[in-house]
Symmetry: C2
Subunit: 471 residues, 2 copies
């Protein structure tokens, strides 16, 4: 990063938006991925960006990308840094574009159920803005209070209510972005279009490699008339999957349907697991919609659950989950206790999911340092389901942690790939999954991704090193 | 087309799959678009492809694309030729790749609700194959018996039951395609993925410009337990839209919701329109799902309809529509009666749709030759709705027909663009809408589309002249 580039940036967007202080640079070295946090906690010096810019408008983002293009300077887009796959990793050569000052509500349209925000708007603020009008975005990632609406789109995020309300690709209406060549595009104009390929999908999931998302418009929902809960103990994972498959394939759609294996049930719902149900799993559901529909759904779901041998659990479990669902310990707290942990989400067809579960859990437990390996499902589809693995390993010497951590990842990715699952359900790929992408896309699919990327970002300046594996 | 190319094709895929007879070439000169049919009917000589190949496997398509690439020969993919936007227009320089012999059922998976077909499988045959197992693709385009499953994907089609079951992008699970470089890609591996940009969207809607789709896998549904109908006379288009908006925004989802303006109601439902309701429109709905849900939906929808002043119409109207929904006169029959007609579908937000309707209908009727201009809506979204315009013009001299026809298109496109609608709901763009695409994508979006296309098809061999406007 030359002083000339920094000077040019100051001229283009104003000195108050161009930062080189230790504090600002240090805070934006990496995202919320475990390996970077571990190294940082162990006292390793992690690289900082060469400069941080905090644009306040799309035009300023455009200016920054033009400067970057003219000076061949790499660019790393940054929202609130809550990504968990290593999508952000700084380097003194890069301009880090912090979008968090682009945080305006652009428009909320109560008739057409559309809400437009600057990409840097914090998720919960966006949700609260529409909630004040009796509306909802319907997207509830665990990170909602620490992620941006642009980040949701950039990483192809899912929310906890996805089973009825869809993932971000089902909620997005239009995307404004600045491309590496400085062009501003506005993609998505109508409720639905057959006007060539849907180019929004080039940016959704690109994790900063194709340009910078500067604005998003969501298709909202009205707040449901009714919310109800149901909860069942599952005699086995199989029985729980069969119940879930039958529910969704009968065209019932509880927005939340989560099955916890016995290990997670015991750990997360201690107060609700009497002796008699200690080896059981748990299936939690939230039902929403018009009251009369919720009522018939509850009845139908109850019949299906019982058909598969599930037993009613105390309803209080679901409000307990609702209240605590976004509380997680920090990585630091774990490191200090001698622990390293992470979650890894994948998805697969109904007939493949159990084999993946079995192999992943067994192979995780074979690692000496691993003290816990468990999973729950949190997103349900007609064609299959996701699994969200959690592993915890203990090491007296933190120097051993990273190798164990990466080996846990390798084993889950391998179990998923071997049985034909998809290696990334919703956290994105970043650097952590990059080398496993080939299992989803194949060599020719990767080559297509590289071709597209090279065409859009011929200088290779957009978040280099992230997402796209080298040929 | 040199004899050498034809000879090479014969060597590569077998002489029985390479056709140069008048009959075969003549039958594949154009699709079901009006202008080509008009010219043909008037006795103009329309260009034929240089050669027609009818591959029977993905490997054979790959061979053809390799020959095309090596000899710089343009390629036109062809399903069953039912497209209505001019996506197919032959030329003696092109290899036309007729996919209709690639018509196998690859696999039907009743547990995971997946069905895979060769891309050339006729739509109704595909639906019947899964229907035999109590399943449905849920995609019912009017063309179902004359289109291929690959064509649905290639044109981003919608079906009549889309309001609950989604458009083709919601039904597709994975796409197999051969790219212009000869690579076979298999895109879409899991129920859902956050593994980089969703590359299936490069092929969906590309209308043959990015490669040839050779196989598709759909996410199926189980056949609904119950089907019920409801029908209402609408006092005005506004009242009908408000009722539809309220139904969908209350999270009720009848798979079919169609509103006909008064003109179409009179024309299409003559037997059901007594004197007393002659100025009314009609709202038809099909309700499907578990019986108990259908029951509460019917009740809720009835309440909403009455709140907006709609009056119950005879239920027999909906079965009448169900039976006759895919019957349309041929273009030739119309030409012979001195008429030229077409349908044009667009979509827009709720607050924009009436202005588009008013301007389009008024400006169509201002054309002297136009004897009928009307519309219905057939696809409903939380954020808006589509309109499906129909116009009919009369000319004693068929030489005047084409100019009138194109002027009708221009006026509907202009009304849509002026009020901020999307210019193509589901028939695709082809050559008819190509010059209007800029209204949806903007100049920078078009430039992005060209960039992507050039990267994937650097020699410009894939269906040249279709879809993508020149810079």
């Amino acid at each position: 990063m030359t002083p000339e580039i920094i000077e040019t940036l100051r001229k283009e967007i104003g000195g108050d938006k161009v930062h080189t202080s230790d504090e600002v640079l240090d805070a934006r070295r990496f995202d919320y991925s475990v390996p970077a946090h571990l190294r940082d906690w162990r006292g390793e010096e992690l690289a900082r960006p060469g400069v941080v810019v905090r644009p306040e408008s799309t035009a300023e983002v455009q200016s920054v990308l033009r400067v970057a293009g003219e000076t061949r300077t790499p660019v790393v887009p940054y929202g609130l840094g809550s990504g968990v796959c290593g999508g952000i990793l700084s380097d003194p050569s890069v301009i880090l574009v912090d979008l968090s000052r682009m945080n305006r509500i652009r428009e909320i349209d109560e008739t057409n159920l559309l809400a437009s925000f600057d990409a840097g708007k914090q998720g919960l603020e966006a949700e609260e803005a529409v909630a004040a009008l009796g509306l909802t975005i319907g997207h509830w990632p665990q990170s909602i209070a620490v992620s941006t609406v642009g980040g949701w789109v950039s990483t192809r995020a899912s929310g906890q209510f996805s089973t009825a309300y869809g993932n971000i690709e089902d909620i997005i209406y239009s995307i404004e972005a600045v491309l590496p060549n400085g062009d501003i595009v506005q993609l998505g104009k109508a409720p639905r279009a057959a006007a060539g390929p849907d180019l929004r999908h080039l940016l959704m999931g690109a994790e900063g490699t194709m340009g910078i998302i500067t604005g998003v418009t969501f298709a909202l929902r009205r707040k449901p008339e009714e919310r109800a809960y149901s909860a069942y103990y599952t005699p086995s994972l199989s029985a729980g999957f069969e119940a879930q498959r039958t529910i969704i394939q009968s065209d019932w759609r509880p927005p939340v349907m989560r099955q916890y294996d016995a290990a997670e049930t015991g750990r997360n719902f201690r107060d609700f697991t009497a002796e008699s149900v200690q080896d059981r799993g748990l299936l939690l559901m939230v039902h929403e919609g018009p009251s009369s529909r919720v009522e018939v759904e509850l009845e139908a779901v109850d019949g299906i659950a019982k058909r598969f041998g599930l037993e009613e659990a105390p309803k209080g479990i679901v409000p307990h989950w609702m209240e605590n669902r976004n509380h997680v310990p920090t990585w630091q707290q774990l490191f200090e206790g001698g622990l390293i942990a992470d979650t890894i989400e994948i998805s697969a067809s109904w007939t493949k999911i159990e084999a993946i579960y079995d192999e992943a859990i067994t192979s995780l437990r074979e690692i000496d340092a691993v003290i816990a390996a468990s999973a729950h499902s949190s997103h349900v589809y007609r064609t299959g389901i996701n699994l969200y693995f959690t592993f915890v390993a203990r090491h007296d010497d933190s120097a051993d942690m990273e190798a164990t951590y990466l080996e846990c990842w390798r084993r889950v990715m391998q179990a998923t790939a071997r049985h034909g699952g998809g290696i990334a359900h919703h956290h994105g790929a970043g650097r952590l999954r990059k080398s496993y992408l080939v299992h989803d896309l194949g060599e020719t699919g990767l080559s297509l991704l590289r071709t597209i990327h090279r065409a859009i970002d011929p200088q290779g300046l957009m978040n280099p090193g992230n997402l796209i594996p080298d040929a």
